[in-house]
Amino acid sequence: MTLLFDIAWTHIRGRLRQTIVSIIGVMLGVGFSIAMAGLMQGSQDDFVATLIDALPHVLITDEVRIPPRQPATRIYDAVAISGLQPRDDRRGILNPTAVTAGLRVWVPGTFSASLSGQGVIRYSGKEQGIALTGIDPKAELAVSSIEDDIRQGSFEALTATANGIVIGDTLADNLGAELGDTFSVTSASGVLKQFKIVGLFHTGISVSDNGVGFVNLKSAQILLERPNAINQIKVRLNDVNTADIVAARIEAETGYKSVAWEEANEGLLEAFKIRNTIMYTVVGAILLVAGFGIFNIVSTIVHEKARDIAILKSLGFRQHTVMQIFVLEGLSIGVLGSLAGSVLGYSLCWLLASIKFEIKGGPAEITHLPIAYEPVHYAIAIAFALASAGIAAFMPARAAARLNPVDIIRGAT
């Protein structure tokens, strides 16, 4: 084998400049694909991480995807029911204690049950609608990142203040209310209740900042006249990757619609897939061009070294061996290009990651481009480069192996 390497090396050395150009071609292909993949994966990971952090991993709501079977169909195998008026159940997760207790047994993670409903705030002559969510503050903090968005007061203060409320800062500004102020909220059914502001948050999402309030679950149940009722359970899992499996099992066991975060953000994840496909297509095209370069140089060498091929074959090198020599030449270019490309890719990633950006809007914050350093990106780029080099070299190598030495020896005589 070292002999084949030696022969291949003499061929490459004779075409050094062209070889270097080919190596650079592969290097650029591999390097840019690694940098691009790192950047795209990085931003995707960053985005998903934010998403996972902010959203419940599984959201159980009081909707039922499959309508409950009618008693008649449960008893008889095949019946047609007509003129049936479904019972007008009040919505909500019935028997919440039993449901959460049931989940607690097997779901690895934490839960927060909540009851949401609409209300109207009246404060110093102003009226403003609000979406109220009644929660157990401790349980809610375990599943959501709301605490990070608190600007004044605290979320936990709800525990100590039975009639406390946490609202968005924009809403408070609109009302002209401040931390510690008290206002009244009226529900759709006309129940009125006083709430004291114990915390202000700013999420950056204006719908939340201007129209959402958190209160104790009990207060919400009183205001909305739904004692002991809840209509939503947020689940935060220890392992986020099991969300879809857990969601499916919860739905099967409880009958309530359970949505994993992947399902909830399906469109977004689908968009990432399309983006990745486009990226790998571009990278593939670059490496294809690099492949043409390799094809070109190996073809040239085969043409130039026809005499060498005749010599080797007359000495007793078999076709397969002759082919190996030229495939080796193409692969060497591929390997060297891949190594150089990996270094280039890593450097580009490092360079991109070191660029500082100032984000406007929020508090002056300096951030960096999120870059993922995934070995699999290197593996994919290198595998693609080597495959393209191998295929590009294979064609002229096969032609070399098939050269008839007699033709060449005769031609030289």
């Binding site: 004779g14 010599i311 007793g316 005589t413």
Partner: protein
């Protein structure tokens, strides 16, 4: 039919009724009805006018080309049903070639060139391989040039390297196509002497195509081709007597 009857020995190479026709639009017959046995120790000249098929015959005997009809045996082994890899293996281990133009790898030193067949076959390895290559080059008068590349040598020197390389794997048969055809008379004589020495030793057969009738006269056996057919196969029994008075 063949010389096997005369000699009673196993031929190193035997062609039986070999015909080679190129399948062109007008088919070209290169050689026709060749029956020829080359025995260990033979020092044989193939002569004939230009275009008579000498080179073509040598390629067939050396398994570089395949007969259209007929069979070639190497050490009694039929070769017509061998595949490409098997024929290559026979060339590597059993046959040595020397062509009119030296056909060396230009980027390898003389030592490197001489070792190529050995490295590929693996019969001689490591230090033994290197020693053998040095020994061959020394024996051929190239001791001072081993680390030079072919383009630094004269034609005669290069042809001697080609001989060294052909002998590298110690093949029982050496096939040469006008090995002195491109050399001046002094180099010619040197190369001829070397081939002559080799042929005498270890029962090695040397077959050389040549235009040079004087040279052919000094070889033990002469096969003459005309229009692709053997017209004469003379075994020179008086070589010794002819050589001694000279």
């Amino acid at each position: 039919m063949t010389a096997a009857v005369i000699n009673g020995k196993q031929p190193a190479i035997e062609a039986r009724n070999v015909t080679r026709i190129l399948p062109e639009t007008v088919p070209v017959t290169l050689v026709k009805d060749i029956d020829l046995a080359i025995f260990p120790g033979d020092f044989m000249a193939i002569t004939g006018p230009s275009g008579s098929g000498k080179s073509s015959l040598l390629y067939l005997l050396g398994l570089l080309d395949l007969p259209t009809t007929g069979e070639v045996f190497i050490n009694g082994r039929p070769t017509h049903d061998m595949d490409e890899a098997e024929r290559a293996a026979v060339r590597l281990g059993t046959l040595g070639f020397v062509f009119q133009f030296h056909f060396l790898l230009e980027e390898f030193t003389l030592l490197g060139n001489t070792m190529v067949p050995m490295r590929q076959l693996g019969r001689f390895k490591g230090a033994a391989m290197r020693e053998r290559a040095e020994y061959l080059l020394e024996a051929l008068g190239l001791a001072d040039h081993m680390h030079k590349r072919p383009d630094q040598l004269s034609g005669g020197q290069r042809q001697r390297v080609a001989v060294a390389r052909a002998l590298a794997n110690d093949p029982p048969v050496l096939l040469a196509d006008e090995p002195t055809g491109s050399l001046d008379s002094k180099s010619s004589e040197q190369v001829f002497q070397i081939l002559s020495d080799i042929a005498g030793r270890d029962d090695r057969a040397v077959v050389a195509v040549t235009h040079d009738l004087d040279m052919a006269e000094r070889m033990d056996r002469r096969v003459r081709l005309i229009d692709g057919r053997i017209v004469a196969d003379t075994v020179q029994t008086d070589t010794m007597q002819a050589a001694e008075p000279a």
